[in-house]
Every structure is written in C-alpha cells, then in structure tokens.
C-alpha cells in the first residue's frame, strides 16, 4: 500500500484497516477511504462442509468477454465456434506433440501458428489433422528438431506429399521462411536408434564428418537427407567395427535398399573414398566433385556422341547397300496390301472370298496411301499387331459362336466360311458405299464453311486438315460391330451394374420411394464383437493405429474383469445372455468413444475422467476402473470395492441399466440378486474403459 498524504493535515501516517475496509489519517482523524476494494481469495462453505474458493475460471485463450447467457446471445455463438476450434486444435496439438516428444515451448509455438492459420481462414476445406501436422512440422523446422515429415505422416497414416502440400501452403501464407534441412541434424537421432552404446558419440562424429564431405561433393542437393544419413552412418559404423547391416539402417532411416546402395556407390566414386580411415579423420580434400546426376548426364551425352560418330562411319561404309535396301523396300510396300487397322484386317480375314474383297479395299486404301509416306511404317506395325491380335479375336468369336449354339460347334468350320461369303460382300459394298459417301460429303463442305475466323462463328476451319487421313480414324460398320462385341465383353461387369442400378431406380420410382441419393461420406461401421476385448482389437485393426501397442497387455486388462464376472454362478441363463448382449451393445458404444483416439492408453484416461454421458454411475466406479488400468492386480479389488457400492446403490444401478437396455425385459431386473449385480458390475467395469 503506497503511503499517501492526508488531504486535510498533510500527514503521511495513514492507518489502513483491512477488516473494516477503511483508511484513516492518524494525525487529524479524517477518513480518507471507505469500503476499500480488496483483492483476496475468499472461501465459501458448500454442502457437506466442503469449502471452495469463490470465483470464475477464465482461460487465457477463451472468449474475450465472459460467456453471457441471455443477453449477447448472438455474438456469443460466433465467438463460441472460434473458441471451440482453437480449443480443439490445442488439444490435438498437445496429443500429437507429446507423441513426438516435443517440449511445451514448441507446442505453444505450434499453437500460435495454428491461431494465425485460423485467423487467415486457411483451415477451410482442409482436414484439421493435416493443418495441425503442418503447424507442428513448421515448429520442428524453425526449432531445428530432428523430426522428419515422414514421422508425422507415419503417426497420422497420411500420404507424405499431402502433408507436404499443406506445409508448403502454410509457409507461403504465413511468410515464414523455414531454414533448409541439414542432414547433420538427423545423425544423433539415428545414431541413438542404432544403439552404438558407449561409442555413440564417436560414431556420430565420424558420420558427421562423412556427411559434411558428402555435402562438399554435391551429393546432398535434391536428395532426401535421411538417405545420406543412412549411408554415412553405415560407413561410420563399419569404420568403428560395429556390425550394422543394410537392413538395420533401413529400418531406422526409412529409405529403401536401392537408395542406400546408390548413395554408397556415389560416395565410392568420390576421391574421398580412396583415403584410409586415419587419413580421412585427419585430412580434408580440397577438391569438390560435381553432383552425381550431373556427371551421369555428361556421361550419357558422351556415349550418345560416340554412338553418333560410329553410326556415321558405318553409314559411309554402307552407303551403297542402303540404297539397294531402300529400293527393295519401296517395291515391297507397293505390293503389300495396305491395312486400315486391326479391325479392317480382321474383317477381311473372315471372308474366304478375299479376291472380291481385296481389290475393293485396295482401291479404297490406295488413294489415302498416296499422300502419306509414313504409311510404310504404320503398315508394318499394324501387320505385327494384327498377327498378334488375330488369335485373340478368333478366340473371342469362337467362344461366342460356340456358346450360342453348341450344336453348331461341329459345323463351325463350315459355318464360318458360309457366313464369311455374305459378310465379305456386305463388307465390300459397305466400304465402297462409305467411301463414296465420304467423297461426296467432302466437296460441299469446304464451300459451305466460311473462310473467316473459326472462333466467333463456331464453324470449323478445314485448312490444313487432311480429310482422307481422318477417315482412317473412323471405323466402318463391320469393324464397329466387332469392336462393340469386344467392348461389351470387356466391360460386362460395369454394364451389368449400370443396368441393375437403373432397374432399381425405376422400381423405386414406381413404388414412390425413390430418393435422390447424394454421395454420403462413409459412416463408421458398427463393429460387432462378442467381448469388449475383441471389439477393441477389431477397431484397432480397422483404424490401423500404430503397431507399438502391446495387444497382450490389452487383453490381460480385459480378462481379470471377465473372470470375476464369470465366477458368480449363472443361475438364470438370462443373466449371461443379458451380460453378453449388454457387452455387445456397450462395446459398440465404447468403440465409438475409442475410435476417436489415436493411442488407446492416454485417451482412455481422458475419456474416463472427462466423459459425461455414462456418469449416472457413481464416481467410485470410475475410480476403481482407473485403478484397474494402472495395476491389473487391482482388479480383484474391484468387485469387492463394488460390493459396498452395491449396498448403498442397488436402487441406482437397476434404473440406469433399465434405461439403457430397452430390449431387455424389465421384469427380470427386479429379480437380480446382489451377487449377480456384482457380476454385472464386473462386466460393466470392462466396458467403462
């Protein structure tokens, strides 16, 4: 209390009485202050003699003004949502951060980033998980902790590149320049994981020197730092006579074998690899190398040049021979029939009367062949393709005919040529007809189309387009049939599905129950399991939570609860049935709770402590369950602990059970004995967590 001066007499001797709340000048007796405002903690006695402090809890990052009920409701809702988002984010950050073993300072920084992100509305349209992972990774980078993006993606089971995308977006929007990753940062971490014991420090130092050397030799630009570290550690380990195989290193460093080998070979190519161990520790070579991909590129270029020179020389020698070759080839091309694609060739093959078909086709094909010089190559390719596909096509047609008319199978051989003849004539007519139609189609078109700009009028400018070549892109009727058959065969499943869907829709329309089904997100399927333990296992399988959970311990936790539950003699068969069905239902509900958690253990505690819906059951049950988690020996205590509970609250127990079990017959509830209640409590203990 600052000493004040009395107004009346000027004396500075002022007596402040806290009890009365007044300040009085001792000189003149004038009262300077009445009803002094005091900042003290006050206690109030509550029911049962419990004394509690008076006041409201205001959190640092809660809503700015205290949550008002009634007045100010509208603004309260908006603030609430933001507060909730931030709260949710903070919780997730804490969760994820603790898994990464980040200290509190980092987590706070990450939360600040998250607040920035939310205020810039960057969380819209993105999963909160991704955003939070990106915030955490940003903190890791700025602080320089040895965490990789891969670690985060492992924890979340998300693709690295998706996280990377979010991370890059954050750096851009928040204008934060994260320092580049230095492979040296990862070495202590990996060395620790490889367990070098006492010599850990020495091996790390050697590996560090190796990495620095690699950096100088330009091996590290554009590569994942973890790969380099892996190679360096492997070499360092061998140098210090530790046996670490490639597999060990890979498991720690998370790259694949090929990458590691490649790094090692690249290092081998550098002049440093020629030094002995002692020399390496003492001397540092001045010379720097080019990056390995650069040298590889140069090498390739050189090889290409050599090849070109060789080819040129060969050409000079074989000049004459090639001339003769070309002449022969042109002759061959002229005599070879031109093919218009797989289907044309196949269609031709069908008819035995090829002589009638050929000249017509040749006429059709020779005209487009003239302007094209590349036809020779294409024809060769097509011939080869045609040979390969002919068998397939024949098989397809055979299957059809064989399946359709098994009797005709015998006369198949005769059947096809008989079919072939009319088909060939149809083919001939069809191809001719089509050709004619196309030829008549073309001349009017250029006259009709205006020569002006194609864009405003929307008409197609035909300049420079070779129509005859385009004709080749269109199949004629026979080919269309063949292709239709093939396609329907290939996509039979899909077409069936479509038909069924349509039928279903028409049926529902008739019934009047047709609803426009929008795409719904897949809801979590309800897991059916006999015991809570099974349910937990199934859920974990589905959720693919980390393999670091010891399932045996999980199972053990369930069993002791199961054994006292099974102990009381199942006098009424109803009770075990009830128990099972109750378990099933409650297991499902428990899973709904559990499936929200990443790690089972930590979340369980929170769920136990913070979840409200079940807490019609008294607090002691929660405590006993908690005790059970920590020490499985406590489990036998649970039923005896439950017994005194059964005493004071037998009336309570049936009512919550009744309300939850609609399907159970309520009449039975009254006849349940105290012992059976104990058994029921035992089973409930299971599912509480």
């Amino acid at each position: 209390m600052s000493s004040r001066v009395c107004r009346t007499c000027g004396g500075s001797d002022i007596d402040v009485d806290q009890a009365r709340g007044s300040a009085v000048c001792t000189g003149c007796g004038s009262v300077l202050e009445d009803n002094i405002i005091v900042s003290e903690v006050q206690f109030v006695e509550g029911s049962g003699g419990v004394s509690s402090a008076v006041g409201q809890f205001v959190s640092a990052d809660g809503p700015v003004k205290a949550p008002l009920l009634g007045s100010g409701f509208h603004t309260g809702v908006g603030k609430e949502s933001r507060a909730q988002t931030l709260q949710n984010g903070k919780r997730q950050i804490q969760q994820l951060g603790s898994q990464l073993q980040l200290n509190q300072h980092c987590l706070d920084t990450a939360f600040n980033f998250f607040k920035l992100v939310v205020s810039k509305h960057l969380t819209r349209g993105r999963r909160t998980e991704h955003v939070i992972a990106a915030c955490l990774y940003l903190v890791c980078r700025t602080e320089g902790t040895p965490h990789m993006l891969l670690d985060l993606s492992d924890l979340l089971q998300v693709n690295v590149y998706i996280l990377g995308k979010t991370f890059l977006l954050l750096t851009r929007e928040l204008c934060i320049n994260a320092p580049a990753i230095d492979p040296c940062l990862y070495i202590p971490r990996f060395a620790h994981m490889l367990e070098f014991g006492d010599k850990n420090h020495e091996v790390s130092m050697t590996a560090l020197r190796l990495v620095q050397r690699m950096k100088r030799d330009w091996m590290h630009t554009g590569r994942r730092p973890s790969g380099l570290c892996g190679a360096a550690l492997l070499v360092a380990a061998r140098m210090h006579k530790f046996r670490r195989s490639v597999k060990d290193v890979i498991g720690v460093v998370k790259v694949c074998q090929t990458t590691l080998r490649k790094r090692l070979t690249e290092f081998e190519d550098t002049p440093t690899s020629q030094l002995t161990i002692d020399e390496f520790m003492r001397v540092d070579l001045e010379q720097e190398c080019d990056p390995p991909s650069f040298t590889a590129g140069q090498h390739k270029v050189k090889m290409q040049q050599l090849e070109q020179e060789l080819a040129r020389k060969l050409d000079e020698v074989e000049g004459e021979i090639s001339c003769y070759k070309e002449e022969i080839e042109t002759e061959l091309e002229k005599s070879r029939p031109k093919l218009r694609g797989i289907y044309a060739a196949y269609a031709k093959e069908m008819g035995p009367s090829r002589t009638t078909a050929d000249p017509e086709d040749e006429d059709a094909l020779s005209s487009p062949a003239d302007p094209e010089d590349k036809e020779g190559d294409d024809a060769a390719l097509q011939a080869a393709a045609q040979r390969l596909t002919q068998d397939f096509l024949r098989q397809v047609i055979q299957e059809e005919e064989g399946g359709g008319a098994p009797q005709e199978a015998e006369t198949e051989g005769a059947g096809r040529p008989a079919q072939g003849a009319p088909l060939a004539s149809i083919l001939g007519n069809a191809s001719l007809g089509l050709q004619e139609s196309f030829h008549t189609f073309e001349p009017p078109e250029p006259d009709q189309n205006p020569d002006g700009d194609p864009s405003p009028s929307g008409e197609l400018d035909l300049e420079g387009i070779d129509d005859q070549e385009i004709d080749k892109y269109i199949l004629n009727e026979k080919e269309v049939e063949v292709k239709t058959e093939l396609w329907t065969k290939q996509n039979a499943d899909y077409l069936k599905e479509q038909k069924e869907k349509e039928e279903r829709i028409t049926k529902e329309k008739e019934q009047g129950t047709y609803k426009e089904k929008k795409k719904k997100y897949k809801k979590r399927e309800h897991i059916e399991a006999a015991t809570a333990g099974e349910a937990i296992e199934k859920m974990l399988e589905r959720k693919k939570i980390s393999s670091k959970i010891n399932y045996d311990v999980l199972r053990d936790l369930n069993q002791p609860a199961g054994s006292p539950a099974s102990e009381p003699p199942g006098g009424a068969a109803l009770v075990p049935r009830k128990r099972l069905s109750r378990r099933r239902r409650k297991a499902g509900d428990a899973n709904a709770e559990l499936s929200a958690s990443a790690t089972v253990m930590t979340k369980r505690f929170r769920r136990l402590i913070s979840s409200t819906p079940r807490k019609k059951k008294a607090a002691p049950q929660v405590e006993t369950a908690v005790a059970m988690e920590t020490a499985s020996e406590a489990v036998p205590e649970a039923p005896p602990a439950a017994v005194p509970d059964a005493g004071p609250a037998p009336a309570e127990a049936p009512t919550p059970l009744e309300t939850e079990e609609e399907e159970e017959e309520e009449a039975e509830e009254d006849c349940v004995s105290a012992l059976q209640l104990v058994g029921d409590y035992g089973c409930e203990e299971e599912e509480v967590f």
């Binding site: 554009g222 973890s226 991909s293 289907y343 385009i470």
Partner: protein, 182 residues
C-alpha cells in the same frame, strides 16, 4: 556473359495443353465404338482419343469439353484440335469449334553448370522454395508472369505456365541468368 548464355541456352517447348468446346452434347459410347485409337473410361466419364499426326492425346467429355495434351507448339495444338473436331464431325455430331484456349505450356531448358540449391533458395527467399523431402527440385514462382520454374541441381530447368511459347524465350532468357548468378 549474358549474350553468351543466350546463344547457349535453348528452351525447348515440350508440351502444350489446350482446351476447346464443341458446343454440342457428345455420345461417348458412339465415339468409343466407332473410332480407332480410343480408350473409353466409363467410370470417370471420358474418352481418350490419340491422334498420330500431331501427336496429341485428347480427353473428351460428354458435355462437349475437350482437353488436348501432347502438342509441341501452339500451332500444332490448334491443328490437332481442329483435326479432332473434324473427326467428331464425321462421326455424325454437330460439332462447332469454339473457345479454343491454350491452358499450359511446359518448356525444358538446360544450363551448362550445376546449381547449388540451398544457397539459391536462401538468396531468393520468398519466391523460391526447396523441400528435399518432397521434391528434388527447387520451385521458383514468378508471380507477374504466372509461371513456375523448377530448378534441378544438375542445371536443368522446367518452366510451366500460361505463357505463349515466344514469350517463354523472350522473357525468360534474360531473367534466368540474373536469378542464378546472384
């Protein structure tokens, strides 16, 4: 130094992506069954048609929107698009060629020297970004040209963006050496 580089650098346009509209509904099944070199993907709802002469792959949707990729120059892209429209016309659809627009151009260029990416990124801080864990190249975004340059440590560059091909060579060449030598 710059003039030397101008002669040594050749920027090769490797891919041009263009879209256009046919202003009419297209029956994909008919195209799939009656055209050669087509792949029909009913699950996605499009048809892929590959032309040989300008080597172009076109994705055709039933709404009439078509995307052509694989051309090596803009003129080629336009020619290919027109050929495609002609082909569809012959199949019997009332095709009109409208709204032809080049969407993206990809060019490749190679420097005769290697680039130290970490220093490069440090010097060009907000514009360049380099994440070795994700991609081996440093990405450099030029906002006013709306282009992205990816710089690899071997000295090769890929330039992507909505520029016309002659723009690439004129605007890009002088800017490149300055970025890299700094």
């Amino acid at each position: 130094m710059d003039s030397n580089n101008d002669e040594a650098l050749d920027i090769i346009v490797t891919n041009v992506v263009a879209t256009f509209r046919t202003r009419c509904h297209l029956n994909l099944r008919k195209i799939a069954l009656e055209g050669t070199n087509v792949i029909y993907k009913p699950e996605v709802g499009k048809v892929l048609m590959k032309l040989r002469k300008p080597k172009i792959t076109a994705s055709i949707w039933s709404s009439g929107k078509i995307i052509c990729t694989g051309a090596t120059s803009e003129e080629e892209a336009k020619l290919g698009a027109r050929r495609l429209a002609r082909c569809l016309q012959k199949l019997g659809f009332k095709v009109r060629f409208s709204a032809f627009r080049v969407v993206n151009v990809l060019a490749v260029c190679s420097m005769p020297f290697a680039v130290h990416l970490v220093d490069f990124t440090k010097n060009n801080r907000p514009i360049a970004s380099y994440e070795p864990e994700l991609h081996p190249a440093a990405t450099y975004r030029i906002k006013n040209l709306k282009a992205t340059v990816q710089v690899f440590s071997t000295g090769s560059l890929t330039v992507t963006g909505m520029l016309l091909s002659h723009d690439h060579t004129h605007t890009h060449l002088p800017s490149l050496p300055s970025f890299i030598y700094s």
